[in-house]
Structure formats: structure tokens, C-alpha cells
Symmetry: C2
Subunit: 346 residues, 2 copies
């Protein structure tokens, strides 16, 4: 009997990468982490939806997506089960939420997550939106219904930042968080230092799949601001939304400015700063000129990094990828393993 | 009723820093992590020993150490309870081991740890010795007796490396580990780059309290080798001892060599390399000339760092302090919180 009966909402690049890991690593995940799972429901705007409490073969799903561009073999019909019905499916006990990220009102993911929690089903997600606009509501509901909600993949994809701070630095007070939270802008700034213009660098980033088609989310700092809010709330026990962030993007920075800075021993980075003073938390995202010797200065290209300033350890920095389908899927797998570890002792 | 009834063996700089955190943060540790504790036994070569199943006031212990150089007020007598008797104390359920680290045979800490495990009592320690010489034995006994043994502080003190790899990167395969694991040698190499000789730099490190009086443990790579073995065993499921490490120290490196390297864009670091190939794990500690752009190149002074090469995330690097009493004590606290988190679900 599988322990986790999964509903997966969203089978885009992250959802598919997640299914691929589940299919490929089933044996090792069971042997090493005692993790057992079965997919009982899946839905995607493009591919349709299926609910089967007896279990949906993951390999077959991946094959029909590849070959038919949908979940089911039967080309004459398409099951049509809405997401809330899927979540309510009697057998499921864990929602994996990877639908699109909406940082305006968090929907539809917010409703998916809250519905799952209220039914006593755990949630694991990479979806920033709900946590950037309604963090406290989600956490309060999860406590009330005694379920786990984990969201490591919302910040720096699979590079563990939230669990690092909350679990591996448990006992420390975290006074300040500084981070390069957006890979696209860091890539653009790196390329501008090498001499190309902002527009050329942006086009490159789009071609490489780093930047969104509408680049505002990246270059105006919205994405970094959403992630900064999630860090502030989850690590410093804040109750902020994305509107509380002082936000400035990189649109107005010239290649010449960046190159002149380098000659002065300084490097321009789009930096998130989160500072706790008493009960108040201040969050800003803006371009900063760091000395070359600063640990975050040497983080180049699409790589991301976060530095925690703490009472017991002074500064601890983690550097790793900030995005990517398999990287985000890794966060989902890790969060599942963590929940499993806690539940095993019941 | 306190959940954890602690026996603390060793009240040197780490043990004392640990008691200070327990005294200072009692309220926050209980509120934030549901962590409750009571000291029921303590022993140190210098200060004597006490056993009191009704609880020993931590603040009073710290005060008598400071004022009288011993644990008890009563100057006419000194309780004399051996460590094994303390461990056997009926009420204790967690051993905190911070006695001296012996990388030859792990004793006396190894016996302390095994005795505790065999009595079904959990263990948290910063003591490298036992894990560098008898890792598999300890872990096998812990499994058999269903107790937790955690040892984050054995590598990079409170900078979380073992829990980062095992918990926050769970689901990833870790293929390679590269690290600057010894602060003294990294400090010496940093100072030599600034122009002073090996001997001067070593004397400075000793003066600053980084280096041992017998410097061989640091500069001949023994300390880094012990830590590398612990990483290989705990993260890659190895069964190595310190004798399996190819080890070369920094005694024969000249200031001139280091400075010439810098001119060529390379920086010399004492690096631990742990590589898994199939079932075999190779561990070496030796000076390496890294390109300046390498992430570990910019780790200077007594700071330490570890890079994990993984299947899902490529490279993830953590940078932080590698030593220090409060830093090591932080690891003890974190490990206690983690055990508590697992036990709460029982």
C-alpha cells in the first residue's frame, strides 16, 4: 500500500519533471527514504484530467503526454474532472500543486491549496503566488487542520533555502537575509558586464528559457519580491505581502555603468534585503553595487544565492541553481520525503 | 516535565557554550520548537561530576564554573561519578558528548556513545573521533536500538553540512563532495597570500585560537581527513576510516609559490575531495590550485565551505564558519531540535 496518494495539478515542465523522478527513482526512494507513492489524480489545462483511485501508471502518463499530447489513450473522449473534485477524491492524501504562478491574487493555486488543507490533506508546491499574497492564511489553516504544507521550491527551486533556515539552522536567530533570488536578472547583469547591452542580454535570456515572454516579472523585480516575501514570512515569522516590498528593477542600468563599477572594484547585483528589527521586518529588492570581495559578488549567470546573518553562526551562505524544471521537481520530492519522515513516527 | 533529560560529558569551551544557549534561550526554544530539557548529569575532567535526576540548575552550574572552577559549591567534597555511571542514570534519555576528540581510536567518546545507544538513549555530539574510526559500528548499533545519533557539529561546526545533504537534498544523488574543511589551514594560506611566511601565519593562527598547540592535526590534514571520512560515510553511505584517506598537508608550500599562483589566476587551497564511483568512494585531502573563478576560491580566512555535486541540482555550495565554541554548540542545539521534531509524532 502506497503511503502517499498523490493528486498532481499542473503537468507543465515542473510537473512532468516531477513525474519523471517519481518513475525513475521509485526503488531508491523507497529503499533509502521509505517513501512510497501512487498517483491517483492528475490535471492540466492542456492535457485534460484523470481521476483513478486504483492508481494511474506514471510511465504510461508520461508516454501519452509525449505521444498524444494528452493524458489518456482514448482519443475520442477526454475526461473532464475539475481540480476541486480531484482534490476531494476520497483516496488522495497529498496535493502536488504546480499550476501557473500568479502573484496578483495567487489564484487558482490558492483555492487548490486551501481546499486540500481543509480536507486534511497535505500540500507540497513550487507555486510562489499563494505564499506571496496569503502566507498567513495558508499557514493558519494548515495548523488548524493539522496538515503539512511545504513549499521549498517557491524560492531558488531545489536549492534548499527555506528548509536550510528553518530546519538546519534551528535554534539560531536569523537577523538578516540577503539574496540573489532571480536568475534571469543575474544572467543579464553578468552578460552586460561582458559588454553586451541590456536588450541583447534580455533576448539571450529569453532564448535560453530563463526569462518569461513578458519580462517584467523578472526585470522589474516582481519575482524576486515574491520570493523575498516568502523568505521573510516563513523564516522570520512575518505577515507581509508582495505590496510591502520596496521594489526597484534593473531596466535603467546601462552596460557602461556596470563596466565602470567593475573598474572601481564593485559589481552590480539585483539584491533582496530582508531585515528584522524587533517585530518589524523590512524587505527591499533593488540593484546594489557590492564590493568584489562580497560573497554574493562572485555569484554569476543564472545561479542564485542567499546569505543568512545569524546570532550563533554569523553568516551562512548557500549558492545553487535558482530555476529549472528538474531543480523545482527536486524540491517537491524533498518536501515529500520530509513529510514522510515526520509521519513515520506516528 | 522536560522531554529531554540530558547528560553532558565535557564542559570545555563547546560544552559551556551549549549550556549558555540552553540557559539563555529556554523560553524561545520551548515556544518555537516545543523543545524542553533538563540537565540531570554533567562531567568534566577539570570540574568534577554531578548526577541529580531531579535536575541540575544550568545557570548555577555556569556560575560555579566561572567562580570556583568546578561544578559544585561545596568546596570540601567533589562528587566522583564516572562517565558510564552518569550515562546509565535511570532518568537520562539524551547524551551530549563534547569530550576531547581522538582520531586514533575515538576513545573515550566512542565508549560513551556506544554505552548510551545500547541503553536506548539518544546521542548528539560534536566529537569527530568516534565517527572517523567507527562510523558503521555506531550507526548499526543505533539502528538496532532504535535511537537517534546526530553529529552535525563534527564537520564545519554549526554550519549545516550533514543535515543539508541528508535532509535538505534528500532525493538527490550526491556524486561528489569538495570542501575546505579546516579553518586553520585556510587562514594560514590566506595570510601567506598576503605575504607572510608559513611559520608566521601558523603562529598567528595559534594566537587567535584557531590552531591546536600541536599543529599537526591541522597542517598535516588529519582534521580535514577525519571530517572528509564523516562526510563520505554519512552522505554517501561509505564505510571508510581515516586510514583510507589519501592525505597531504600544507607544510611544504611556500609563500612564493602561493603568490606566483595568484599572478597566474590560481589560488592554493587545502581541499578535500570525495568521489563516488559505483560502490567505491575515494577520499583525498591535499593542496590544490583552483582557478580564481572557482566558488571555493573566494572562501578566505577561517571560513569553511562545501560543494555538493548532485544529479538534480548540479552544484550546491554552503559557506560558513568551520569552528568555534558557540558555532559547535549551535550544532548540538539544532540536532536536539531535529530529534525532538521526529519524536513529537510518536
Amino acid at each position: 500500500m502506497a503511503k502517499f496518494k498523490l493528486i498532481l495539478l499542473g503537468a507543465g515542465r515542473v510537473g512532468t519533471a516531477f513525474l519523471e523522478i517519481l518513475a525513475r527513482k521509485r526503488k531508491i526512494l523507497e529503499e533509502k527514504y521509505n517513501l512510497e507513492y501512487e498517483l491517483v489524480g492528475i490535471s492540466d489545462l492542456k492535457y485534460g484530467s484523470i481521476l483513478d483511485n486504483d492508481g494511474i501508471p506514471i510511465n504510461k502518463i508520461l508516454k501519452t503526454i509525449r505521444e498524444k499530447g494528452r493524458f489518456i489513450d482514448n482519443t475520442s473522449s477526454k475526461e473532464d474532472i475539475d481540480n476541486i473534485t480531484l482534490i476531494k477524491s476520497s483516496d488522495s492524501n497529498l496535493l502536488i500543486e504546480t499550476t501557473w504562478s500568479n502573484i496578483k491574487d495567487g489564484e487558482p493555486a490558492l483555492t487548490h491549496i486551501l481546499s486540500s488543507i481543509r480536507l486534511g490533506k497535505h500540500v507540497v508546491t513550487t507555486n510562489k503566488g499563494p505564499f506571496a499574497v496569503a502566507y498567513k492564511k495558508i499557514i493558519d489553516e494548515a495548523k488548524k487542520h493539522n496538515v503539512f504544507v511545504r513549499f521549498e521550491g517557491t524560492v531558488l527551486s531545489g536549492t534548499p533555502v527555506i528548509s536550510l533556515a528553518r530546519e538546519c539552522l534551528a535554534g539560531c536567530e536569523i537577523i538578516e537575509i540577503q539574496g540573489i533570488l532571480n536568475g534571469t536578472t543575474n544572467y543579464i547583469l553578468t552578460r552586460m558586464e561582458e559588454g553586451i547591452s541590456f536588450n541583447e542580454a534580455l533576448r539571450e535570456a529569453q532564448k535560453l528559457g530563463y526569462a518569461e515572454t513578458d519580462p517584467s516579472s523578472d526585470i522589474d523585480g516582481w519575482d524576486a519580491a515574491a520570493k523575498a516575501v516568502i523568505l521573510a514570512n516563513s523564516i522570520m515569522n512575518g505577515n507581509l505581502t508582495i505590496n510591502d516590498v520596496f521594489r526597484e528593477g534593473i531596466r535603467n542600468i546601462s552596460t557602461r555603468y556596470i563596466q565602470e563599477n567593475i573598474e572601481k572594484g564593485r559589481r552590480t547585483k539585483l539584491l533582496a534585503n530582508i531585515i528584522k528589527e524587533g517585530k518589524k521586518i523590512y524587505v527591499e529588492v533593488k540593484p546594489r553595487d557590492l564590493p568584489i570581495s562580497h560573497p554574493l559578488s562572485s555569484v554569476m549567470g543564472p545561479t542564485n544565492a542567499v546569505t543568512f546573518k545569524t546570532d550563533h553562526l554569523n553568516r551562512v551562505t548557500i549558492i545553487g541553481p535558482g530555476a529549472g524544471p528538474i531543480e523545482a521537481a527536486q524540491a517537491l520530492v524533498m518536501d515529500m520525503i520530509t513529510i514522510n519522515n515526520y509521519l513515520e513516527w506516528r
